[in-house]
Amino acid sequence: MTDEEQLEGLLAMLRIRMFEDRVRTEFAKGGMPGFVHTYSGAEAIAVGVIGALEPADLITSTHRGHGHCLAKGAPLDGIVAELYGRETGLCKGRGGSMHIADFANGMLGANAIVGGGIALAVGGALASQVLGDGRVAVAFFGDGASNEGVFHESLNLASIWSLPVVFVCENNGWAESTPFSYASSVSSIAERGVAYSIPAVSVDGTDLTAVRAAASAAVARARQGNGPSLLECIAPRREGHFVGDPEEYRGREQADQARESDPIDRLAEQLVARGILSAEALNAMRKDWSGQLDRAYEFALAGPWPDPLDVERYVYS
């Protein structure tokens, strides 16, 4: 990554973290309906992988999808308005946090069904192959999702058809209260690639440059028609499973440990040490984004509710 790209990447990660911090604060105040899962700690994955894509490329996301949305270029106003169920939201308030999508930017949906997006990305890649339009599809999913049958079926199918898809596992060590080490037969999700003849690597998911390098290789391979790859990115879950999770199932130490390697601090420190970034510039970035967040919340909360008479709208074409 060039210095410029690293700065861009840092900014993109910072945006996601600050977005999620704000979500936590606003959720605690009440008024944000439903439940939300934050992407904090995994920023380098969305930013690194999506940074390796073209705008027309496709992604499928998860219940923890705010980071993917922001990194793929979804408009901030539309995201926040969606979290509040307003007609001005990306899904016109029909979806909410767990079902947020932005098809205009190739974001084919968060998914409240664990593993639900994996096969959809395979389908995106199939469309690309049939249409010959060169698009690549990326499936984001958690370590827990890799225990769903559909993960295994999707890898096999993508492999035999040599589809342009990249499977990106965000391994945060936990699926709700269940540790990865208990629930999976392998010590690394990357080990699962071999069963489907899919090249797989495991990288530190808190290291933006490492994620980006691995993603670029996988995307290039897909784009050249050489088939799918599996990319495991390890980034411990910094926060509760959802906002408000008491997390009694994991000890303080485990939770603290998960916060040790911070993708943002880590890159910022490097860039400052190398003289590419100043503390003042970093603060200016924060301030600017914070202002944008304020305006997005104002926009969202001023937005109209959907009309109850429209409850059956959008069911069919």
């Binding site: 439940f35 029909r94 979806g95 998914n111 069904i113 209260s177 009694e248 509710w305 109850p308």
Partner: protein
């Protein structure tokens, strides 16, 4: 939770619907070592081998304490693998266990649909009575939590359409305990649907572990002017409406179906035969519902006794929307039950629908 409930008495220690489920699971595990429970996060913090204070006990804490009491052999945290969870439970049931699966939300059941529909439901019949599948699959159903499309389904009609399954939807703590005990003792696969708006509902638990027979409805309120048949949380809505109707001089009989397959036709037909009027309340998207089947049966059997067309109060014909005003419009409400009841009783001002 936003679905209307009966006013809840706030006396401390009065058990809730959740407590009732724990009570029944504990009693069933205690009386029969073949009963095991399995599901995602049902112990919580798995892999330590030792019980500890902070264990989750499932999304709603129903299985909290069971791991400490019965150990990892009988209380099993699973990976997120619904097809394998249900499929292995079906096989274990065929081979002599009595598994109770916790699938979390009913919206996750479609991953296990083959195991439920093709394996559990058909085995006894296809194999000429050789197979026995004593299996319970518990799941949380219902809208109202602002959880959106993929966390709010009830799938009542979907499950009830499948011969070979028994399907129950208890609406009170007493019924939750009694029906769960009977479901676990049943030699057939039982789909056990728990509406999330009822989880904190308080009420007495049964004095014994005798259980409540599957396939029986309950008259939740007696009345002579019309019959309101309800499913799951609709019972609470109908009781609210019935209180209001009484003020208007209409005495509604509320029949809580409790068992969606098989249906207790005797209780329904006896009631409608007396009242001559029927309103059905069900949190299922309009289109193809259990209420439709009941209306058809009543029409065939009691046509001459009906004083008004049967009316249904259903959910909107869409997935469950996230946005609060849309979700509120989607759900059946006490107000809509009132309107339907007045209509069948001919009590609406002329010109109004």
């Amino acid at each position: 939770m936003s679905t209307p409930d009966e006013p809840r008495p706030r006396r401390r220690r009065e058990p809730t619907y959740l407590d009732a489920l724990t009570f029944a699971l504990d009693a069933a595990m205690d009386e029969d070592p073949r009963v095991i429970v399995m599901g995602e996060d049902i112990a919580g913090g798995a892999g330590t081998g030792e019980p500890f204070e902070g264990q989750m006990g499932g999304t709603w804490g129903v299985t909290k304490g069971l791991f400490a009491k019965y150990g990892p052999t009988r209380v099993r945290d699973t990976p997120i693998s619904e097809a394998a969870i249900v499929g292995s439970a079906v096989g274990a049931a065929m081979a002599g266990l009595r598994p109770v699966v916790d699938l979390m939300w009913a919206s996750f059941a479609p991953y296990a649909f083959d195991q439920i529909v093709n394996q559990a439901a058909k085995a006894r019949y296809m194999f000429g009575g050789q197979a026995q599948v004593p299996l319970v699959i518990r799941m949380s159903v219902g809208a109202g939590l602002r959880a959106g499309g993929q966390h709010s389904d009830s799938h009542y009609a979907l499950f009830a359409a499948i011969p070979g399954l028994k399907v129950v939807a208890p609406a009170t703590p007493n019924d939750a305990a009694g029906l769960l005990l009977s479901a676990i003792r049943s030699d057939d696969p039982v789909i056990f649907l728990e509406h999330m708006s009822l989880y904190r509902l308080k009420g007495a638990l049964p004095d014994s572990t005798a259980g409540i027979p599957l396939g029986t409805a309950e008259v939740a309120r007696m009345g002579s002017d019309l019959t309101i048949v309800t499913i799951g949380a609709s019972r609470q809505i109908a009781l609210l409406a019935a209180t209001q109707l009484a003020l208007e001089g209409i005495e509604a009989e509320v029949v809580d179906l409790r068992s969606l397959r098989p249906i207790d036709w005797d209780t329904i037909l006896e009631s409608v035969n007396r009242t001559g009027r029927l309103v059905l309340v069900e949190e299922s998207p309009a289109g193809v519902t259990i209420s439709d089947a009941i209306a058809a049966e009543v029409n065939e059997r009691l046509f001459g006794r009906l004083k008004a067309p049967v009316r249904r109060v259903l959910a909107a014909a869409s997935p469950v929307p996230f946005s609060p005003p849309l979700e509120d419009a989607w759900l059946p409400t006490a107000e809509r039950v009132l309107v339907a009841a007045r209509l069948v009783c001919d009590r609406l001002p002329a010109g109004r629908d």
